[in-house]
Amino acid sequence: MELEALVAHCKTGDESAWEALVRRTQGRVFGLCFHYLRDREEAREVAQETFIRIYRGLDSFDGSGSFLAWSVRIARNCCLDRIRKQKITPTFGATEVDNPDLGREFVEPGESFVDTHVRHELLRRALDSMSAINREMILLKDIQGLKQREIADMLSIPLGTVKARSNRARAELADRMLELDPSYGA
C-alpha cells in the first residue's frame, strides 16, 4: 500500500494502518534524526517525538505535498528544537560507527559487507567535516531524496539557491571523500 493510502487509512482511526505507517517510515525518520543529532539515544527520543507530532497532525496533512516531505519537515523541526533546547553540538560518536550491523542491508552486489560498512563510515565522517549548511543540503536532497522545490519551501530559500547549494555541497563532499580515501569511486 502506498504511503498516501496508508495516511488516508490512519485518518479514519485505523490503528493497524498507523502501525504499518510507523513501520514503513521509522528507519527514515530515525536515520534523519541521527544525522542531525549524531547520538543514537537522542535520535530515538526525537524520532519518537516526531511520530507523536505526525500522529497528532495527521488531520492537518491535506495530501497536497508528499507525506515524505511533510514527515521530514516535522522531524527536522523536532531535531532543531532539541538542538536549541539542549544547546548540543552534534558530533559523531563511536556508537553508530562501531555498530557491526550498520548498513548490512545496503551491501552492493559483488562487494563485501566490510567494504560497504567502511565506505559508509567514511561517508559519515566526510559529512561531519562539512559545513552545516552544505551537510543539510546533502541530507535533504541526496540522502532523503526530497525535491528541490520541497527543500526550498522547507528552508524558506529561493529554488535557485537550493540548486546552487546542492551542487556546491556535492562538490565539497566529493572533495572530502577523496581526502579520506583517494580511491573513492575508483
Binding site: 530515525f30 536515520g31 544525522h35 519518537q48 511520530f51 561517508l123 541526496d142 540522502i143 546552487a164
Partner: protein, 269 residues
C-alpha cells in the same frame, strides 16, 4: 555582492533570465571570488567567468576532474543508503504506546474534564434541587403517584415508635458528646506534649520556652471549655425536647413499677 547573493542569482543567470546590469555585478564578484567562480563552472555558467580567465580556469579545474567525477558518481549510489537507519526493536511498541495509547488516555481525560466542567457549574446545585423537587413531587405528590402513600406511612410508623426514637436520639447525643470531648482533649495533649521543657527527646532547637508552653496549655483549656460550654451544651439544648420527653416517659414507668412492687408486697403481707 556577497556570495549568498551570488548563489541566488547564478541560477537565474544560467537560465538566461538575469538582467544585464546584475550580470555585470555577478561577473565582477566571480572575478574576485574563487569559490563563486567554481560554482559558476559547476552550474555550467561559463559567462560568469571573465573570458580571459575562463579557459585557464576550466583547464585548471578539469585537469584533475576525473577523481571528482568518479566520487560524485559513487556518492549518488552511496548517499541514498544512508537515508534509513534501523532503531531498536522496542521502538515500534514505544511509538504505539505514546500515540495510540496516549490518545486513548487523552480521550479519557477529555471526557473527565467535560464531566468536571459539567458537574462543577454553579448552576448545577440549583438545577439539581429543581429536578429533585419536581421528581419528588411526581413520585409522591400526586394522587396517582407510585409512592403517594409512602410519606404518610413513614410518619405513622415514626409516631408509633416515638419512645424508641427519642431514646435512641438521647443515647446518640450522649455518646457524641463524650466522643467529641475526649477527641478534643487528646488533640490538645498532642499539641502541648512536644512543647514541654521536660519532655524527653525535645531538643533545644525545637523546645519552646515555658511561656509558650503555658500559652499552649491555656489555649487547649480555653478551647476545651468553649467546646463543652457552647458546642456540647448547645447540642444538648437543641435535642432537649426529645431527650427530656424520653426521660419523662421512662420515669413514670419506673415509679409505676415501684408502686406495683409496693402493692404486691402489701398484698403479700
Amino acid at each position: 555582492m556577497k556570495c549568498v547573493r551570488f548563489e541566488e542569482l547564478i541560477f537565474e543567470r544560467v537560465e538566461g533570465i538575469l538582467d544585464t546590469e546584475t550580470a555585470v555585478m555577478l561577473d565582477a564578484h566571480a572575478a574576485g571570488c574563487a569559490r563563486c567562480a567554481d560554482l559558476a563552472i559547476l552550474m555550467g555558467d561559463g559567462a560568469a567567468i571573465p573570458a580571459e580567465d575562463f579557459t585557464a580556469s576550466v583547464l585548471a579545474l578539469t585537469s584533475d576532474r576525473e577523481p571528482v567525477e568518479r566520487a560524485l558518481r559513487q556518492l549518488e549510489l552511496d548517499l541514498p543508503a544512508l537515508a534509513t537507519m534501523a532503531p531498536d526493536d522496542d521502538f515500534i511498541a514505544d511509538v504505539m504506546a505514546v500515540t495510540i495509547e496516549a490518545d486513548r488516555m487523552r480521550l479519557h481525560r477529555r471526557l473527565g474534564a467535560f464531566w468536571d466542567s459539567l458537574i462543577q457549574r454553579p448552576r448545577l446545585a440549583l438545577e439539581g434541587a429543581y429536578l429533585g423537587a419536581v421528581a419528588g413531587f411526581l413520585l409522591v405528590g400526586l394522587p396517582a403517584s407510585p409512592l403517594a402513600g409512602v410519606p404518610e406511612q413513614v410518619i405513622h410508623e415514626l409516631r408509633s415508635q416515638e419512645i424508641a426514637v427519642r431514646t435512641t436520639l438521647a443515647s446518640s447525643t450522649a455518646k457524641l458528646s463524650q466522643f467529641s470531648t475526649t477527641t478534643w482533649e487528646r488533640a490538645g495533649d498532642i499539641v502541648v506534649l512536644p512543647l514541654g521543657d521536660d519532655e524527653p527527646g525535645t531538643g533545644d532547637a525545637v523546645r519552646l520556652n515555658s511561656r509558650d508552653s503555658e500559652w499552649a496549655e491555656f489555649a487547649r483549656d480555653t478551647a476545651a471549655t468553649a467546646w463543652n460550654d457552647y458546642v456540647v451544651t448547645g447540642a444538648d439544648w437543641l435535642l432537649s425536647p426529645w431527650t427530656d420527653r424520653a426521660t419523662n416517659d421512662s420515669d413514670p414507668n419506673e415509679s409505676t413499677n415501684e408502686e406495683d412492687k409496693d402493692e404486691r408486697s402489701s398484698h403479700s403481707a
